[in-house]
Amino acid sequence: MNKTPAAGAPPKRAIDIVNASLKRRYARERRFRFIGLSAVILGLSFVGLLFADIIAKGHSAFVQTYIQLPVHFEAAVLDPDGSRNPEVLARANYQQLIRDALRTEFPGVTDRRETRTLYSMISVGAPTQLRDRVLANPDLIGTTQDVWLLADDDIDMLVKGHIDRGLPENQRRVKDQAVGWVEQLEAQGRIAKRFNTIFFTNGTSREPELAGIAGALMGSFYTLILTLLFAFPIGVGAAIYLEEFAPKNRWTDLIEVNINNLAAVPSIVFGLLGLAVFISVFGVPRSTPLVAALVLTLMTLPTIIIASRAALKSVPPSIREAALGVGASPLQTQIHHVLPLAMPGMLTGTIIGMAQALGETAPLLMIGMIAFIVEIPSGFTSPSTVLPVQIFLWADSPERAFVERTSAAIMVLLAFLILMNLTAVLLRRRFERRW
């Protein structure tokens, strides 16, 4: 009590001693609580800081610059024999159309170098863009259309303001002349930033404006699905066996220590192991979600097992006794009573393990995941890469436009992570109880 209660108390009342020291104890309490709160806030602000940093760098990658040009779909170029044969149309020289369009737009450009600069304003992916349009609608042939064409990454950077137009020309990748053209187009409203669908639908590419994360995302998806399928049952099963059924002796102690120790093995060593065992001995194909999942399973197992064992340990023995006492078998006791109570902890372990697997690069270096794979993987055994590796590769690319794409890819990875965690968190909440 904050006040000393009624006077006239017997001489040495415990409460007096208590009250005397109360202030100090409360100071300690407040301090403790404050430290706790600061810890949470600190932790959360790290998350915030990282997110803010990443979003600030990456948000602009979600839009992409397009340049509008009147393109004449010259029949002579596209379909010289007039057959409208899709095969012929597919092989036609669409580049030509774009170059023509550019030259008509900027008639003054004649110098060879200048023409090159001019052509390079439009992405090398633009011809494909045109081809798809023509294939979808062959009637375009012979007409002139205003088409929004994908801009090259340098122009994209310039339009987004990542290249400072105020710098001296020799310190810029985009030269004055190109800046002039861009400004001219901007004045005409022929430059627009649109939502970057390519980023979400394409596989990777050397051209930043064509590079997408779909391949890596699918790779991560397949990898994680498999990892979860392998690691969760194995981890939980192993934890249950070791904690609940295995006889407690030196041998199981050794296993426990050993599992703890596996968590400290550098992840790249798991890559070595995967290379030696899964690829060399069992012939699992390289660079596939399957082999990645196997390696990541081995890597995440300790996390899941340790967390699950801790969770099992915290279930009071009386619950087990109660179940055994009415004739439940040990396995039933586990499945009906202990497991539901330990599930939140197990799920936490799984969340963290999966998060780790999702963000891991090092072991994948060893098993061929650090690769340029354009095709979007279609299954567990098609060659693919994963998000963190894609990020790793993009981060190592010279092109400036990859900087924002790297951050955007990180954002997608984090979104993936959050989505994944959300499911587990919801599950976890269903199981959580205090008694």
Partner: protein, 287 residues
């Protein structure tokens, strides 16, 4: 917070929807709920678990140097009421207390009042023994340590031995003070919890069936302890044994379905209960 009993205005009870739902008003308590020399004064206490009401408009005093026993059928709200007296109900989600409870005139449910010293002053022995997962020694030493009641190891050792002796456990555990308290038998755990409580010399002691797991001899020791403690402190005890109530308490309160049916001198309650329900219960005709 210098509210004294005199100044204290008993809060008016609002009829809650839960009460209306339960379809019945609480019963009037028979007998004198007050004590000549009260330490704790409860007035119109209602307790709700979520929307169900477990205690209905109970008023009761606990006097100085007196043992009040609470009896009543299982589930009638004795533990719930007891837990109100040192705000242990705070820890139960969804548990809500209204009405007023004062200790030496101070409203213990006052917003500004801090339950921590209150609980040091109003100790409690729980119905289910809950020893800490520590050694027997540490279990008893815990209270004195955190409250800073001792200055030296020797003093602490004394307190621990004294408390364990009073609880009649010393002989059984003196050789294994460093063994975990959770490895004791049921009755030993119960006595350990009693020792743990008296080690901090609380002025009011709430005991929820402290002898339920004890044999007659151990029970006698605890009853003796209660009698001894009474000379300085106030005690509220929940018990299912009428004999025990009769032996240790000066006043007895009979609870029934959340109502305090009757309060009175222990003698009177057991020999001459006024309320029909009390009588039925005492004579075993109930149910």
């Amino acid at each position: 917070m210098s509210t004294t009993l005199d100044e204290m205005t008993v809060r008016t009870r609002a009829t809650t929807s839960a009460e209306l739902a339960s379809g019945r008003e609480s019963r009037e308590t028979v007998g004198d709920v007050t004590s000549a020399n009260p330490r704790m004064v409860c007035r119109h206490v209602d307790v709700f678990y979520g929307s169900t009401q477990a205690i209905k408009d109970v008023s009761l005093d606990i006097g100085k140097n007196e043992v009040v026993s609470m009896i009543g059928p299982s589930g009638c709200g004795k533990s719930t009421f007891l837990r109100c007296l040192n705000r242990m109900n705070d820890t139960i989600d969804g548990c809500r207390v209204t009405g007023s409870i004062t200790l030496d005139g101070l409203d213990i449910y006052d917003k500004g009042l801090d339950p921590v010293p209150l609980r040091a002053q109003v100790g409690m022995v729980f119905q289910k023994p809950n020893p800490f997962p520590k050694s027997i020694y540490e279990n008893v030493a815990y209270g004195p340590r955190i409250l800073g009641l001792t200055n030296s190891k020797a003093e602490l050792d004394d307190i621990i031995e004294g408390s364990l002796r009073k609880a009649g456990l010393w002989n059984e555990v003196k050789d294994r003070l460093d063994k975990p308290g959770t490895g004791l038998s049921g009755g030993q755990q119960q006595r350990l919890c009693i020792a743990r409580t008296i080690a901090v010399s609380p002025e009011v002691i709430l005991m929820d069936e402290p002898c339920s797991a004890l044999d007659p001899i151990a029970t006698a020791i605890i009853e003796e302890l209660i009698d001894e403690l009474r000379s300085n402190y106030s005690i509220a005890i929940v018990t299912h044994s009428m004999q025990q109530a009769a032996r240790v308490s000066q006043r007895t309160a009979y609870f029934h379905l959340g109502d305090l049916i009757e309060v009175g001198e222990t003698n009177q309650i057991f020999t001459n209960p006024k309320h029909k329900l009390t009588e039925d219960y005492i004579t075993g005709r109930f149910g």
